[in-house]
Amino acid sequence: MVGLQILIDGFAISSLYGLGAVGFTLMFGVSGVLNLSHGGIMVVAAVCGWLAAGDLGLGVYAGTLVGVLAGMLAAYATYFVVVRPIQRSRAIPREETEIFVLTGTLLWGIMIQDGIAYLFTDNPVTTRPLISGVTSIAGVRTPQNEIMIAALCWAAIGLLWLLVNRTRAGKALLAASMNPRGLTLLGFELSRMYLLVWTIYGVLAGIAGVLLASFLGVSSANAGQLTASAFSIVVLGGLGSVSGSLVAAYLVGYLETITAYLIAPTLRPIPALLLLVLVVYLRPQGLLGRR
């Protein structure tokens, strides 16, 4: 009974982790950017979705769309206000760009977090579930929203897969993650690839943020935790590896759920972090990493 419960609960949360991490790792693969304002962007999406659905009275579906759109806009803002100026700055030595991007996005994330706390308090926001009610799966009372969330996550991941493998733009994106220089030699504009990857990233982070708000609730105080979990999942799976991130998301999601159920909810994140340390020691490129 507890086993099945863990299986079901772990699946929903892992799917959300996966969705959050896929965009994160894709962006690193294509543009070498580790966006430490990731959690902040998810929170922006969640809060905007909540505002639109509640205060503006648009209802839960339109609210979700507004939230996703807000996530995309927040990603654009991150790119144009923080990342691109750093990448283009002549004052920053080339080899230090990455560390500056890391610092810049970290600070940006803190600004987002404090800004939201100031404007909307750091109380968690929760959106109404897309579908309410519960279903019994072999005796386990499961909110239908949880099933819906897992399905939506996988639909988004599936669409991403189609985009990357079946469209021209997507294939170029894949190529950019393997060899950016080669792509420019073929006449592709790298800056457009970057814009595309930020768009995809923003939409995915937005969806993850809005869904999390309808599942567990999201507070601006969670921003750091959300970034940290995406970051550790991506490192665990192998930086830049999408499939690695998915595997790692399920590993972390289930490890956490098992710990919460069988040991203590308070110790929830600990085993996953220990695993991360172990992987960094024994297999620094991550589970499915190439580099």
Binding site: D9, G54, D122, N123, P124, T126, R141, N222, P265
Partner: protein, 423 residues
């Protein structure tokens, strides 16, 4: 480049001067030209939390009202607010700044016990009267009791955890054990300074109230997924979950509702005391019972309803529990300063000890030097008992004590009650 000056500047300036003059006259008329320097009171809240923001807003409201009626002995009451970001270190800095730089005469601060415990020694060191608006740890009055000479400057504006637990046990006995035949409970509290004495008291008084405690769960306030906790509780089949939550509130409530956990929740859920909780939880609060300082529309005293209405008019939401207390404490301070005839800290403490004031939360008195909870808020019928409210269709309905109740306890359909289970 500096902007070219506007050609019409002189007339505009005259205009502004006239306006400013008019405004100043209005102010002066409204407040009848202050006799002397204002009396400054520091108020330390936390703007990014519902309860922390309610605290400063309500304090300002009280001061505005007092000033509109001529202030304290002709002196204006000036509120200086500080934001402690719910951090003990920030609160200590704010407290020091209030005393040393802004020269306040008293401080009203915080609803968090950890923060109150951090500034309490500073109130002792700097001889600065301090009234807490909501912190509930029993250690706060114990320090005053054990070292009165030094700690006598600290007072508590809300009941401490032992009384909160007592009030809740009394309420559950009347509301749940009697009418619903509930016999068992699981205590579920966040791990914080205020819940240590709360849980201790729960474990003692719940069995006396007729609820056998099957389990006692303390969880990390950073918890986001409450499913495993509810799952564990459900496995133990209690009739009710008795909560002790303040730092968290929205997430456990929403998850309880979405997962349709069939066990009712009662006890203390501080965030559920404010009206925005319904919106924050998208109505998942339906059926949740919590203890509170007062409730909208419930005339605990003749002052409660007017205050609540004015607060809603001014700020949109109802006050959180520490809004009621902060409002009352500004009045308590004003009266004490009047009685003392000065803002000398030792004379203010003496005057505060003689407090017997009917505020929005009840009749306010503080325990004396020789009592167990020195300078704690006195608990009891005819004094302050608190009110239990239940969220019903978007409204906070007072359900306890009987003399103040507006309605009966009703649970959502997914909650299984003992009689139903027996059928």
């Amino acid at each position: 480049m500096p902007r070219p000056s506007h050609p019409q500047t002189p007339t505009r300036m005259l205009h502004r001067l006239l306006l400013a003059g008019a405004a100043a006259t209005t102010l002066a008329l409204g407040a009848s030209a202050w006799a002397a320097e204002p009396i400054k009171i520091g108020v330390i809240g936390e703007e990014s939390s519902v309860a922390g923001a309610s605290l400063t807003k309500a304090a300002q409201m009280a001061a505005d009202e007092i000033n509109a009626k001529g202030g304290v002995d002709g002196r204006k009451l000036e509120i200086i607010t500080y934001d402690d970001h719910s951090s003990a270190a920030d609160a200590v800095r704010a407290f020091q700044r209030a005393v040393n730089q802004d020269k306040v005469s008293a401080v009203v601060a915080t609803y968090i016990s950890e923060v109150a415990l951090a500034i309490e020694p500073w109130s002792a060191r700097l001889h600065m009267p301090l009234i807490t608006a909501g912190a509930a740890s029993t250690d706060i009055p114990k320090h005053v009791h054990d070292d009165y000479a030094h700690y006598k400057y600290t007072f508590m504006g809300w009941l401490n955890s032992a009384f909160i637990a007592q009030s809740i046990c009394d309420a559950e006995q009347d509301m749940l054990v009697g009418p619903f035949h509930m016999k068992t409970a699981v205590v579920m509290s966040e791990d914080a300074a205020w819940t240590t004495p709360l849980d201790e008291a729960y474990l003692k008084c719940l069995p006396k109230a007729g609820l056998k405690v099957l389990d006692h769960i303390r969880f990390n306030p950073d918890t986001t997924d409450f499913t495993p906790i509810f799952n564990k509780i459900e496995g133990e089949h209690p009739d009710v979950i008795i909560t002790g939550i303040s730092h968290v509130g929205v997430q456990p409530t929403v998850q309880w509702h979405d997962q349709q956990v069939p066990i009712p929740m009662a006890g203390q859920s501080s965030q559920a005391t404010t009206s925005s909780f319904w919106k924050d939880t998208n109505g998942a609060a339906e059926g949740v019972i919590t203890a509170s300082a007062a409730a909208p529309g419930v005339a605990t005293t003749p002052k409660t309803v007017p205050f609540t209405n004015d607060y809603i008019k001014r700020f949109g939401d109802t006050p959180a529990y520490d809004g009621y207390t902060a409002y009352d404490m500004i009045y308590v301070l004003a009266e004490a300063i009047k009685r003392a005839g000065s803002t000398d800290p030792d004379r203010m403490v003496e005057a505060l000890e003689k407090t017997d004031y009917v505020g929005t939360i009840g009749r306010i008195k503080f325990y004396g030097k020789d009592e167990l909870y020195t300078h704690g808020l006195e608990y009891g019928r005819g004094l302050v008992t608190g009110v239990d409210i239940q969220w019903q269709s978007g409204k906070q309905v007072a359900v306890w004590p009987k003399e103040l109740a507006q309605g009966k306890v009703i649970f959502p359909t997914f909650v299984k009650l003992p009689q139903q289970a027996a059928k």
